[in-house]
Symmetry: C2
């Protein structure tokens, strides 16, 4: 077992190194083509696809948008997005618990980058595995949701530390939940004091305008975060 573990560490370093290289190549391509790219991460059911839908609505007349959907199985999310008339490519990872830069590179063959200003990549629902795998994105976006509880920053510090922006979704359910906003925010601030934070409800639309304005401003700042 010890020997197997030693081997694993080496291999994981190889894989992470190779991933980092492909992510850099993806990023170079995105910059060259003027495509601003978001890597949207969350636990299962936090509302990643709903956030993507809510982000598309106010922006679709101003920017040309496309979506890459990552899931272990099914095409449910890509079908939802395609139903809006937005180009969508589904990646099924089989058993893998995260997207990687190579999967995203393969998915790009299904999209015309010249015709895209904003590419939203929805990662696999998971608060642990996606953290270590850059895809070539300009911004790492995390969706947390109130029913998951106020203790999530303490239990999953890796992802809360790694992201540029955090959306707390399903705030419409707050009156029904034992969710202490101060506990949640203290946990986030200890890990990531500079993260942009938006409480939102993808159901009611609350908070979406502030998030979209921030996103446009970050895009206008250019493609080197």
């Amino acid at each position: 077992m010890q020997e197997a573990r030693g081997k694993t560490v080496t291999v994981i370093k190889d894989i992470l190194g190779a991933n980092e290289q492909i992510a850099l190549e993806n990023r170079g391509l995105f910059n060259e083509k003027g495509v601003f790219v978001l890597n949207v991460m969350a636990a299962p059911g936090a509302g990643k696809t709903s956030l993507i839908q809510r982000t598309i609505e106010p922006l679709r007349d101003r920017l040309r948008i496309a979506v890459i959907e990552g899931d272990v199985a099914s095409t449910i999310d890509a079908d939802r997005i395609a139903g809006l008339g937005i180009p969508a490519v589904q990646i099924n990872t089989g058993g893998a618990c995260h997207l990687d830069a190579s999967m995203v590179r393969s998915a790009l063959s299904g999209l015309s980058l010249e015709d895209i200003d904003l590419l939203l990549v929805e990662n696999v629902g998971n608060l642990i595995c996606p953290t270590g795998f850059a895809l070539g994105e300009h911004l790492k976006v995390m969706v947390s949701s109130t029913p998951e509880g106020d203790d999530k920053p303490y239990k999953y510090p890796g992802m809360f530390s790694a992201v540029d922006v955090l959306l707390l979704n399903k705030v419409d359910l707050l009156p029904l939940l034992d969710f202490d906003m101060d506990t949640f925010r203290r946990g986030v601030e200890a890990l990531n004091p500079n993260v942009a934070f938006f409480p939102v409800s993808c159901k009611t639309g609350e908070g979406i305008e502030a998030w979209v304005e921030w996103l446009l401003a970050r895009r206008d700042q250019g493609f080197q975060p």
Copy 2:
């Protein structure tokens, strides 16, 4: 990259094989000592710890109970259980997205198996990684929760296929959610037609009695599932 991937597959087979061996040893020890063991799995925030608390309440006068808590970081869950006066050991996995049989074996040194009838092991919050790693448990228990959505069986078929019992938690929130019970159940039945299914609310206590009765009956059937 190809070479690195080939190596990974081999190493993962080694690790899974080694894990399976240790899981069998754990199971032998549990059987010898008369300890019935549950591996409780779920997405982050579905309510694993709350279910464990609700399971302890009606059983603590009839069975001697202990808990192993698995998390990437923090001792929040073990502290909650210890606060009830129940022996609890916390495993922090560092970055790992699941418990394994070796971690459970190490945690057993903090418990006196002779004094335990029922051991509840709470896995790391994750719908993907824990599926492949047996811990030596007698029952695989999954907690899904209504705010995660009715599409989860379709997106995470591995875990829904692998478990002996499925609890759908937070049914008290159903009137506020767009959750179609038929869609959810059809997805579950296609993957795992024999799974025991209990809709529950760990907040209100709804459905807990039926789950606890089922659990006692399964335990009485003996220690070879």
